[in-house]
Amino acid sequence: MKTWFHQWGSAPYFYGRASRWIPWLSLLALGTIAYGLVGGLVLAPVDYQQGQGYRIIFVHVPSAWMSMFIYTSMAFAAAIALIWRMKIAEVYISAAAPIGASFTFLALLTGSLWGKPMWGTYWVWDARLTSELILLFLYLGVIGLYSAIEDKRSAARAASVLALVGVVNIPIIHYSVEWWHTLHQGATITKFDKPSMDTAMLWPLLSMALGFTFYFGALVLVRMRVGLLQRERYSRWVSDMLNSGGSAS
């Protein structure tokens, strides 16, 4: 366990290993997303309440899940970065934040595009919608802070502090918004609360979610390699790698 931690903490090891993982993850992502798309857009039956409009679910829900999953993972990385000063964890945060932000944006966009036909409006101040919007601001804050600080070493540490403070706040936001919405009125917007979903819908949905996760995994490794190379451009291992003919790129 400890040696594993150590190995993955070393930049050259990570840089080399990641390049081997990326093709596999991409392939997995491609397969699962392809199945999800076919299953969702073509094979899955029409929802008798919502018509064809419900098909947005196949991108909306995976995006929403990813947005939350990525932020949590960033907070873990932030703790590791601050406590053990682990370089890889710092790089992870700056690599993952833009991906997380774009998934959050997609969840908001697809959600409101779904809301117009379903609820008749693009936007309501529902609890879940509001907290997703705030999550977007949290992401933008991390990205903004990271890009505003020029010394990238300090920038990564500052972004870690912010990500960590943000994650402490997330349950509080969740709770406050939830509570705030239900104080005055019952739920006006009924999403389909666990309707026993047709497996013809469920499998493609899960497959899409899995595909998005693989996609994220591949993408974050690509971005981390860039970030690592940028930060370590002067170190011995980079020049060795360049001299030895460039190895895997």
Binding site: Q52, G53, I56, H60, I99, T110, W114, L229, G246
Partner: protein
């Protein structure tokens, strides 16, 4: 289901296809940008490395 029907999405074409299109676009751009910048960075570093070697020799 005909192809036309498929594209019409039961009258919700705009919403459905904008959603899928936006997701696809964002995901593809997200992938292209770092791959390109990786290539650029590597070639820049190579150029610098060779320049430095050239000057020391």
């Amino acid at each position: 289901m005909s192809l036309a029907e498929f594209f019409a999405m039961g009258g919700h074409a705009f919403y459905v296809w904008t959603s899928f299109g936006a997701v696809a676009a964002v995901m593809i751009i997200n992938l292209i940008v770092p791959v390109v910048s990786h290539k650029k960075l590597l070639s820049e570093l190579r150029r610098q490395a060779s320049r430095k070697e050239g000057s020391t020799k």
